[in-house]
């Protein structure tokens, strides 16, 4: 038993452990502080700054797009949407919230229930994220919400930017559209080194996609000091000392502006021509002197503006369901059999290769027998004696069948390629296809079969496997107009800074320069000119506009092979989707051509009635603009009057009848109808082999 004092001494000895514990813990905490504050201090300072400073993106306006006359085509317009931030909204009492929602429901005409549902759904969202209630508020709605806003906590009008196609649906395909980046696309986009954020938009078609990097500017950045609830405390100015150099404010850099080669007046004229007659298809107009695309329309079209602010599912669905494919750019992404427009190339090939001379006359009946088959002319009664000029003006199939016998498919294909078919024109738009120019190799490669000579007879009149895009056809006829030079079509004329300083002016690019004989071009052009001639009974005579000197070629191309039942029916009486496409290529004026056009009018049965008027509207509009003295409305009116006198007074009745003659029954209208048929083909319709025989260009 110890005394108390001894015991105390024993305890006192143990105090060294207690002191040791205090010192050790002091050291431990001290070292930890040294580690956190001295060693890791800068690191934690950065993290604290990131906590405190909220990055606010100041979006850069996207570059604007103008037509060649500086008419604004693509604009950035503000759009207003109603949003509610639940965390703020819920600071109000329950009855305040209820009346607020009722008011909003009345303003927006959305049911209170739907608004509550949207709010409740957002309950699990990150804090202080506004919930979208209604987008695209009208001005009245904005005014009403702004008026009531004081009473409605957490209710806001959010200002966004919508990319607006000033001309509605016109030019939708070339301009393209922007829309929100999908989560899948994001990593791919940022791979290219450009920084996109999750809610950014990106060009997804047309010009917007092709020139994304130039159109898109660089977003500005500023920093706000926020507290842990994300509430703004103050703006962090340029001068305020930020602990970190990389957190500096940056002004947005707007995207570059684009001036196109497109003439909006021509776009409007073309769209009007399609829309008024409820036609669908495509038109491409090119300046044959430099490859500038003057007009480019695919019809029907769609509202690109909607895509930039989130397209309504019902609208999108209707676009997908529409059998006329409004989303498809038919100018570069669809290919059609060129039909008789291909005869231009066939004639050039034959003349250049010496298969015929310009004055060579060929007897042309209603059909031509080759092998065991009869190849029919579109005009059953035949054309009689035909030279190359007449063959083009009246689109004589048998003339070309006979040439085909003497020509090799590879030669023909080579000429087609020299004039731009079978390869992309490389117009700078995404998704262009190349069309098909078949030859021996192609047949072996794709069809695993040998070339049949009979197929040459189909190809030479633009049928069979042969296809071309409208832009290729436009470029082809432009080359005929300018004497053989194939330019790369251009849609962008100039790229400028937002202040209007020119950054780049595109230059004409020659794809290939064809050296055709002078005589070849002369006779071809004569034939194309005569297509508009009443005297020469040209296939496009009904489309001719008095006062406008143009050269052109009609064509039709079948959509489906005909069965025995459908063959004999009149095209117009077919179900629409089985009707032929009408095609037309033309240039004007004859001397120093200024515009070359190709038109496809889908299921219109006829090149002259379906496609040619659209082309002529565009030509008329353009010539009237660039040379109003010669082609303006007064000059054309004078020409009309002259023509009227010529036809009605000087020349009597029968000319009139011709004008009125029904194009679908061309047999009735021609003098040559009486001329003898090809002796090889006594009867055109006797030995039809259904399903194999191509239908010739049933022009008129």
């Amino acid at each position: 038993m110890l005394g108390q004092n001894e015991q105390l001494q024993v305890y006192q000895e143990r105090f060294r452990y207690l002191y040791l514990a205090v010192i050790l813990i002091g050291l431990l905490l001290g070292f930890r502080l040294w580690y956190l504050q001295v060693l890791q201090g800068d690191n934690f300072k950065r993290i604290a700054e990131e906590n405190r400073l909220k990055k606010v993106i100041d979006p850069a306006p996207r570059g604007m797009v103008f037509d060649r006359n500086r008419k604004l085509l693509l604009d950035n317009q503000p759009t207003f949407s109603l949003v509610i931030t639940p965390q703020y909204f819920q600071t109000g009492t329950e009855s305040e919230q209820k009346t607020a929602i009722k008011k909003l429901a009345k303003i927006t005409k959305i049911s209170s229930k739907a608004i509550w549902k949207a709010l409740n759904k957002a309950w699990r969202q990150p804090s202080f994220q506004p919930v979208l209630i209604k987008k695209n508020l009208s001005e009245d709605e904005v005014a009403l919400v702004e008026m009531e806003k004081i009473d409605l906590r957490g209710v806001d009008v959010d200002v966004g930017i919508q990319r607006t196609n000033v001309f509605g649906e016109i030019s939708a395909h070339i301009l393209g559209y922007i829309s929100k980046i999908s989560p899948k696309e994001l990593p791919k986009l940022n791979q290219r080194g450009r920084r996109y954020a999750k809610d950014d938009s990106v060009g997804k078609a047309g010009l917007e996609q092709q020139w994304e990097d130039d159109l898109r500017g660089v977003d500005g950045v500023s920093y706000l000091e926020v507290d842990a609830l994300g509430l703004k405390k103050r703006e962090v100015g340029q001068n305020s000392q930020s602990l970190l150099s990389d957190l500096t404010n940056r002004k947005p850099v707007p995207g570059k502006n684009f001036v196109l080669t497109i003439d909006q007046d021509l776009q409007n004229a073309a769209a009007k021509a399609f829309a008024e007659e409820k036609k669908t298809g495509a038109i491409v107009a090119i300046d044959p002197n430099n490859g500038e695309v003057l007009a480019m329309i695919s019809w029907p079209s769609f509202k690109t503006t909607d895509f930039s602010i989130g397209v309504e599912p019902t609208y999108l669905h209707s676009l997908f369901k529409n059998e006329n494919k409004p989303l498809l750019d038919k100018t570069i992404k669809e290919h059609y059999g060129p039909g008789s427009t291909f005869k231009i190339i066939s004639a050039i090939a034959a003349l250049e290769e010496g298969v015929i001379e310009p004055y060579t006359k060929v007897q042309c009946g209603g059909s031509f027998r080759f092998g065991r088959r009869n190849y029919h002319d579109w005009k059953r009664s035949g054309f009689g004696s035909t030279d190359v000029v007449k063959s083009l003006a009246q689109s004589v199939d048998v003339y070309y069948y006979k040439l085909a016998v003497k020509m090799d498919i590879d030669t023909l294909a080579a000429y087609a390629k020299r004039l731009g078919l079978g390869q992309k024109t490389n117009v700078r738009l995404p998704g262009e296809i190349s069309g098909i120019v078949p030859n021996r190799d192609w047949k072996l490669r794709v069809k695993k079969e040998k070339w049949q000579k009979g197929e040459t007879l189909s190809v030479i009149i633009g049928q069979s496997f042969l296809t071309a895009t409208p832009i290729q056809l436009a470029n082809m006829i432009a080359a005929i107009a300018n004497g053989g030079i194939l330019y790369r079509p251009r849609i962008v004329k100039q790229i400028e800074t937002p202040n209007g300083e020119i950054l780049e002016t595109t230059q004409p690019e020659i794809i290939s320069e064809n050296k055709f004989q002078e005589s070849t071009l002369r006779y071809i052009r004569e034939g194309l000119k005569n297509a508009f001639s009443h005297k020469a009974n040209g296939t496009a005579k009904k489309a001719s506009i008095p006062g406008i000197d143009a050269a052109g070629k009609t064509g039709t191309t079948q959509v489906v092979r005909f069965t025995k039942e459908t063959l004999h029916r009149d095209c117009k009486k077919q179900e629409k989707r089985f009707r032929h496409h009408g095609l037309f290529v033309a240039y004007a004026p004859l001397q120093n051509p200024k515009i070359a056009v190709a038109v496809v009018a889908e299921h219109s049965c006829s090149g002259s009635v379906g496609a040619a008027p659209i082309a002529m509207q565009v030509i008329k509009t353009y010539l009237g603009k660039i040379d109003p003295d010669k082609y303006g409305e007064p000059a054309l009116a004078k020409a009309r009057k002259k023509k009227f006198w010529k036809t009605n007074i000087i020349k009597p009745e029968q000319e009139l009848e011709q004008e009125e003659s029904v194009p679908e029954s061309p047999k009735l209208e021609e003098d040559q109808a009486a001329s003898p048929s090809d002796p090889d083909n006594p009867s055109a319709l006797d030995d039809l082999e259904i399903g194999i025989i191509p239908i010739g260009g049933s022009d008129a």
Partner: protein, 369 residues
């Protein structure tokens, strides 16, 4: 020459160093609290309340100082019993604040009896060992009653639930047990028991959120926005203070409320963010000095009751400082334990000053009366 005066007048020397350190800490605490609650709507409320409570605490401490030392000893079990009753009352009548019943409303003040329970437990243990016969070491049998004295308040506090306070009561008792020495058999048994019981307790005694805190402590970044948020934000606050700190009222982590509970549990982080490493070392130094003073008083006390009681109080302060600062710097799991003289909280400040009052009483008793 106040010393001379004292000696001349009363003939004895007071040990008042602990008072000066406490005053320094309290001053820092109030200034820091002013910053921590700056910008809160009722900011004046906090630091003024703290000043008021300091005043009340000072009155209590002064009263204790003048109480006769023997009275302290005799009153030990009574204090313990009253406190136990108060704890039971809390469980029955207490105010429920965010899932815990810790406060009892006494009309003019709402009291947290568990803050005093730490002291009264040490008090009762000191009394028990003082009255017990002199032993070289304690066995499982001789330590039975002290164990019961510890377990009753521990379980009552855990029922609130208040894990931090329960842990401090246990740890304080453990320090006292070790000081009076347990025999090697019991020590070995206790270590073995701990090894077996800790996993069992983890699984069956701890509540889900308490387990989560331990998981979070081991890896706060597993859930940085959720369970790990407090710990991470506190480390960011402390670390971003750097060497010299961001300046008074300039701590972005605390002023912008990234730091949770910044006027109570994470008050050290506020201080550390604004005053940096240098300021933190000064504060840490003050705490070490304070603890040394506590131990010095214990060491120099001339009876067992005074020594054990003051060691118990030292241990309470020690564990509060260790757990609170350890938590702020990410060395301890997030357990709601306040920092003496710094954290906002009336009962705790009063309890601390009460404890200081007892220490000064013990320190000066030998020369009194």
């Amino acid at each position: 020459m106040p010393k001379m005066m004292n000696e001349e007048v009363r003939g004895r020397q007071y040990n008042l160093a602990i008072i000066w350190i406490m005053l320094a800490l309290t001053a820092l605490g109030i200034v820091n609290l002013y910053s921590a609650t700056f910008g809160i709507q009722s900011e004046a409320h906090y630091w003024k309340m703290q000043v008021l409570r300091f005043g009340m605490g000072a009155a209590v401490a002064a009263a204790i100082f003048f109480v006769h030392y023997r009275v302290l000893e005799r009153f030990a079990y009574a204090a313990y019993a009253i406190n136990i009753l108060l704890l039971i009352a809390v469980l029955l009548l207490g105010r429920n604040i965010s899932g815990a019943k810790r406060w009892i409303d006494l009309g003019f003040i709402s009291l947290q009896p568990s803050e005093f329970m730490k002291i009264t437990t040490a008090w009762a243990l000191a009394k028990y060992f003082h009255d017990d016969q002199q032993r070289a070491s304690y066995s499982i049998r001789t330590l039975f009653i002290p164990t019961i004295l510890v377990l009753i308040p521990t379980l009552l506090v855990m029922a609130q639930p208040d894990l931090g306070t329960a842990l401090i009561i246990l740890a304080t008792a453990l320090v006292l047990f070790l000081l009076v020495k347990v025999n090697s058999k019991l020590l070995a048994a206790a270590v073995l028991m701990a090894i077996v019981l800790i996993p069992v307790a983890y699984k069956f005694v701890l509540k889900e959120y308490q387990r989560q805190r331990i998981v979070t402590f081991l890896n706060p970044y597993a859930d940085p926005k959720g369970h790990g948020y407090n710990s991470i934000q506190s480390m960011i606050a402390v670390g971003s203070g750097g060497v010299t700190g961001k300046g008074f009222k300039e701590g972005t982590q605390s002023q912008l409320h990234f730091l949770p509970e910044h006027h109570t549990d994470f008050i050290f982080s506020v201080y550390s963010e604004e005053h940096g490493f240098l300021g933190s070392i000064v504060l840490l130094g003050l705490f070490v000095a304070f603890l040394s003073q506590c131990l010095k008083i214990a060491y120099s006390s001339n009876d067992k009751f005074g020594m054990l009681f003051s060691v118990g109080i030292s241990a309470i302060f020690f564990f509060h400082i260790l757990i609170n600062i350890g938590m702020a710097v990410g060395l301890m799991p997030v357990v709601g334990v306040p920092l003496p003289f710094m954290s906002y909280g009336g009962s705790f400040l009063m309890a601390c000053m009460f404890a200081v009052g007892i220490l000064t009483n013990i320190a000066n008793k030998k020369s009194m009366f």
